[in-house]
Symmetry: C2
Amino acid sequence: MTKIKNDLFLKALKGETVTRPPVWMMRQAGRFLPEFRAIREKYDFFTRCRTPELASEITVQPYRRFGMDAAILFSDILVIPQAMNIEVEMKAGIGPWLPKPIRSQKDVDEVIVPDVKVELGYVMEAIKATKELLNNEIPLIGFAGSPWTILCYCVQGQGSKTFDKAKEFCFTQPIAAHTLLQKITDTTIAYLKEKVKAGVNAVQIFDSWGGMLSPVDYQEFSWKYINQIIEALKDEAPVIAFGKGCWFALEEMSNSNASALGVDWTITPKMARKLTNNSITLQGNFDPARLLSPPSEIKKMVKIMIDEFGKDKYIVNLGHGILPNIPLENAKAFIDAVKEYN
Amino acid sequence: MTKIKNDLFLKALKGETVTRPPVWMMRQAGRFLPEFRAIREKYDFFTRCRTPELASEITVQPYRRFGMDAAILFSDILVIPQAMNIEVEMKAGIGPWLPKPIRSQKDVDEVIVPDVKVELGYVMEAIKATKELLNNEIPLIGFAGSPWTILCYCVQGQGSKTFDKAKEFCFTQPIAAHTLLQKITDTTIAYLKEKVKAGVNAVQIFDSWGGMLSPVDYQEFSWKYINQIIEALKDEAPVIAFGKGCWFALEEMSNSNASALGVDWTITPKMARKLTNNSITLQGNFDPARLLSPPSEIKKMVKIMIDEFGKDKYIVNLGHGILPNIPLENAKAFIDAVKEYN
C-alpha cells in the first residue's frame, strides 16, 4: 500500500507517539456543508450513495474546506440490508423507512447473504474514485453499522426513541433474531473485507443503538457480533468500534482486537481511560450540540478535552454525528483547535 | 402522620433492614391497564389530571390489581410549566406540544413563578382524594420533573431524540437559560412542599433528559437545580432522584441528601453499587422492554436482579416507565417475583 502523506490518524490507531492528535468528525461528509446541500438538491439519497462520482466528491468536500486528518466514505449503514433483499427507502422528514419490516422467522428466512462484490460493487467503485481524489494525502475510513443497529431498523421499520419493536423481536423470538444477526454479520464481514481491498485504510463499526440494551442483553445481541467482525478484520485493517451509550461495555471492548474505541460525550475522558485501563486508543467525544457555542469557547473546550484524554492514543472527534445546523466557522474552530494544540 | 400499614417502601428509603425489597413500577398508573384506558376514552389528558376523582381513581388502579408497595399520583411533569404561564397541549400521536416555545430572554421574562396553592390546587385535592382511597395501606409518592427536563420541553416545544434546540438555547443564551431554570426550580420546590403537606409520603424527581448532557454540562444545567430541590425538601419528605442516562453523576448524587437514587437498565447492579459507594438506597432497574419476555423468564431475571442489588437499601422498579403494550400477566409476574423473594 502506498504511503499516506499525513499519517497522524494511522499512527494514533497504532498507539504511536504523535506531535498532536489527529482529528475528523463523524458525519463530516454531509448535511452541514453548503457544497453538499447543493448536490443534495439535484440527486436523491441513494443516487448519491450509488454514483461513485458523487459519493467521492461528497467524501472529499470537508477535507478540502477544513483539512481534517482523515476522510470517511460518504455512504449509509442501510446499504447492507438493501443488498440483503430488504427494501429500504429514505423519506423526507422521516428518515429511513422500511415498508416490509422483519417480524417473524419466515421474514428472516427470506433475507439473503448476498455476493457483496455484485450487490455493493458501487461502494467499491466509490472508494477507488475517492482514493484518486485524495491522492494519498490522508487516510480513508470505510464503515458499517453494527449488526444490532441494522436489526433495529430492519425490525422497527424506521427510526425510534426506544426501538421497542426491535427489542420485543429479540426478547420473544431470540432464535429468529440470532439468525438475522448472523446473516447481517456475515454480510458485513464480506463487505468490509472488500472495502479494504478497494482501498480504505481503516474501518469503523457504528453501534448507534447498542446503548438501548442492558449490559447482559448487549453482550448477547450486539457485542458478540461486533467482536466477530473485529476478529475477521483485524489482520486486514485497523477497526474502530463506536458504541453510542455503551460505556458499560468499554472494559470488555478494550480487551478485544479493536484498534480504537469511540466514546460519546456522556463520559469524562478520565473515566473513559479508567474503564479501558489506559490500554487502547480512544476516539471522541465532543458533544455535537456544543459546536453551537461561540468559536472561542469551542477552542477552549477542545484544548481541555485533549489535555484530559492526553495527546497520544487519541483521535479527536465528536461524540456522535455533526448536526446539520452547525455554522461553518464553528466546525472550523473545532478542527483548528486541534491543529493548534501543542 | 398516621402510620402506613405496609411500610416496606419507607423502610427501604431509610436504609432499614427489610424481609424483602418493596416494589412499584414507574408509569404504573396508566396506559398499560385496561381500566385506565376505559377512563381515557371518556376524558382527555388534562381533564384526568385536573379532576381529583379521576386522578385518584387512576392512581389506585394498579394497586388494586397487583398490590404494589407504593402508589404514585397520576399527574404529569408538564403541569408545572402550565402553571407558569406556558401553554402546554397533549396531542394525539405527538405527545406534549407547546405552541409558543421559549427561545429568548424576553420569553423567559414572561414566565411567572405562580402561587402553586392556587394554580395547582387541583393536584393537592387529588392527593387528598387518593389518601382516602388508599386508607393508609401503602405510601403515596408525589413527583416533579427536573428543571432541566422541564426546560427541554419548554424550549424544544415537543419531545425530541436530541433536544438540540434546548441545548442550543443553554449553550448560546446561558443567562436566559439559568433564569428559566431558577424559576422552574422555585416553582417546583413550592409545589413539592405543598404536595407533602397534602399527604404524599415521598417525592421523586424525574430527570428524563439529563443523560443528553455531558458530565460538565449536567452539573451546570441539571444537577445544580435538582440539588436545590433536594436541600429544600430533605426535612419534609424522602426524596428520590432519578436521572435517566445519568450514571456518570451517580457518585456525586450519592453524596447528596437524597434518600434514594433511581437508575436505568444500562448499568449493572454491581457498578451502580460501586459508583454510589454502597452508601444509598437504589431504585430500579429492569429494562421495560424485558417485560415482553415470557412471565417465567421475567421471574428468573427479577430474582437475579434482587440478588445482585441485595435486598436492603433497594427498591425494585423498572429502569424507566412501563410500556403501553405490556401484557397484564407479565406485569403481574414482575410484582409477584418480588413478593415471592426470600
